[in-house]
């Protein structure tokens, strides 16, 4: 079907089940249709189909549907007609262009469904306010809990011009469920704000517990900020009468962790994300823990340095941003030193990713050399004459002065071109 010119709405979309037909719960359902653009008359018939039965996908039993009542848009007169009368009215269709606000309702059924057919001889005028409103009341159902699908079809001159399926949830009174409860981030620095999300249904009372202390929440809320000073287990409790639903989640306060720091070539940006960091800098400037910045802000070729720290860990990471020629060889080349503080060691982590030039044209070899300027140590990492296209290498630094690993430990990527290719060898040092 082409793009719909109508929008379909329902208020709440829920039926409370009647456990005992002697004391039925009378529900109300309000559904309405709006036109996306005002103007026009090309709608004269609206059909709702209610699946009948006692199953989880049924709306209600036949006897229950038969007893429900309805209102339609204010200002309209509703006349109940038989099927034969409706057919006759359709043949006598006239176009009053809205002067006559009369609607006919024909209720019919087959083995599977109950149909409500609304017909307006003069048609409905389109407007962004509801074109047609239907309020069903005294709706009682003893069908099983579940979701009933009620199709709604729109016609003009018996040609379909709109369609929607309303989903109507059926549940027992008093049922309360927390479907979801999770933090935006699972790890933060001490005192850092994190948003807890939840999806609770039918709660009359909602309480968030942290370390045994509870605070009442608005039952219509879907989340809140918390700022844990230490790793904290949060418990959300939703109540409805005697029924309770509980979910737990955990926000951990951990040492700083570098999750992402790389060049996004397509976007032309450098992107970073550091978890649990008290302070993050890019080239000495304070930045937020998760962000991106245009590469135009950096010199080329150049090194972009990120620092971060938190809970006894200090991270210094250097990302190489090469010239255009170099970038056809190398996707990224990054060196990260994590200082474990009083533990007396640092970890050096090197990551690279290169394009597959070596295999494609066979003229270049790549290798990375580790250099400890303090100890005068030089080594080709992994003893490899040519690097795999993507990889990482890690070394513990036990004798390197704290805070000086960045300048004392250098990693150099050497790109060697065979003679006669017209290109030159080059080196990248970070």
């Amino acid at each position: 079907m082409e793009e719909q010119i109508f929008s379909f709405f329902i208020e709440k979309g829920e039926l409370l089940l009647s456990e005992n037909p002697e004391s039925p719960i009378q529900n109300t359902l309000k559904m309405w249709i709006e036109a996306k653009e005002s103007g026009g008359w090309d709608l004269d018939e609206i059909v709702y189909r209610f699946p009948k039965g006692a199953g989880p996908e049924d709306f209600a039993k036949e006897s229950e549907i038969r007893n429900m009542k309805c209102h339609i848009s204010e200002g309209w007169t509703l006349n109940i007609v038989s099927r034969q009368q409706l057919e006759k009215l359709k043949k006598e269709k006239k176009r009053g262009r809205g002067q006559e606000r009369v609607c006919f309702l024909c209720i019919s059924q087959d083995e599977k469904e109950y149909r409500y057919t609304f017909f307006a001889q003069a048609g409905w005028y389109f407007e962004k306010n509801p074109v047609f409103e239907l309020e069903l009341y005294d709706v009682m159902t003893t069908a099983e809990e579940g979701c009933a699908q009620v199709p709604c079809e729109l016609f003009y001159d018996e040609e379909k011009c709109g369609f929607h399926t309303y989903e109507i949830l059926k549940r027992r009174k008093g049922t309360v469920t927390i479907y979801d409860f999770y933090p935006d981030r699972g790890a933060v620095a001490a005192g850092e704000r994190v948003f807890l999300n939840w999806k609770a249904e039918n709660a009359e009372e909602l309480t968030l517990y942290a370390d045994g202390e509870g605070s009442k929440l608005d039952t219509a809320s879907h989340g809140c900020f918390v700022s844990p000073a230490k790793s904290t287990r949060y418990r959300l409790e939703a109540k409805n009468g005697e029924n309770t639903s509980r979910r737990e989640t955990l926000v951990q306060v951990l040492p700083a962790f570098l999750k992402k720091f790389w060049i996004n070539e397509e976007e032309g940006t450098v992107e970073w994300e550091v978890l649990c960091a008290g302070r993050v800098t890019i080239d000495g400037m304070d930045v937020s823990p998760k962000n991106s910045r245009s590469l135009d802000a950096f010199s080329c070729p150049g090194k972009i340095t990120l620092t971060a720290g938190g809970m006894g860990r200090e991270i210094v990471s250097v990302l190489y941003y090469g010239t255009e020629e170099e970038r056809t060889d190398i996707v990224h080349f990054r060196k990260t030193v994590t200082d474990f503080g009083d533990a007396g060691f640092q970890l050096l982590h090197v990551e690279w990713k290169k394009y597959q030039v070596a295999r494609e044209n066979g003229v270049k070899t790549f290798r990375i050399v580790y250099q400890d300027r303090e100890r005068n140590e030089l080594s080709v990492i992994g003893g490899m004459d040519s690097l795999p296209d993507e990889g990482s290498w890690e070394q513990i630094l036990t004798g390197t002065a704290r805070g000086r690993a960045g300048e004392l430990i250098l990693m150099t990527m050497q790109v060697c071109v065979y003679q006669g290719t017209g290109s030159q060898d080059y080196e990248i040092t970070i």
Binding site: R185, K199, L275, D342, N376
Partner: protein, 255 residues
Amino acid sequence: MEILDLKINGRETGEEGYQAAVGERLALSWKCGGCDGCVIYPYGWEGGPEGSAELFAYQPMTLLFRAYDKKESVQKEIPVTLSGKECLKGVSVQPAGIVKAGEETVFSFGLEHTDFGYLDHGIGRVEGDSSRQFLRDNYSVYRYCILSGSTGRTAFQEQTVKAGRDDALALDRLRYLLTRDGESQLYRLEWRIANHGGAPVSIRISDSSEEIGSGPSGCKEWKREGGDVRTLSIRCRKQTGEELYFGSIYPYEIK
């Protein structure tokens, strides 16, 4: 929707969780039924209904695995603790002593409650209790470190072993001294290249077309002004094809 399978290093974990060595590589694998995706906390990695991820346990934490669809989620937790019993019993090499070019040396590590460590000379992190290497450096000391510690304090243990060749082309000695004299800087460089086999050696600085040294060993002094960054390079290539790897890429910044 349910989490059908959740394992660390191929093992299902109970309520007691997973006890890891400090820095252990944890391979997490999962399979969920009827979910749209999943998130692994604390680091917030996103994945599909089935997949794997890798992380390193440097501190105790709880892995929280959350599988979700449009309506709801289910979750499982795996507490990861650190054993604190990691111990390095010893390091040995086979064959013992000096090896010949192309000969493989096997390092063996006596490990308890851990299964990885770090070897220097460019070898890096070694998983398991042995490592096979074709050594390129001269016969020298190799350091092997493991991480240890529990919740209180992370530390490291180190042992050394001698290994290597006696015929490897190597930068055996490099000393560098800078003395400032007002605006001028006086540089002094000492070098020695082992097993060069008579191959020419070239030592240059990037702001000069002339060599500052050419012998396999020596000492050179020079003076310069200004603070521009320059690169020092040392090159040596034997007729056998063996090359001083660092010769052309020794980026000793002279500031």
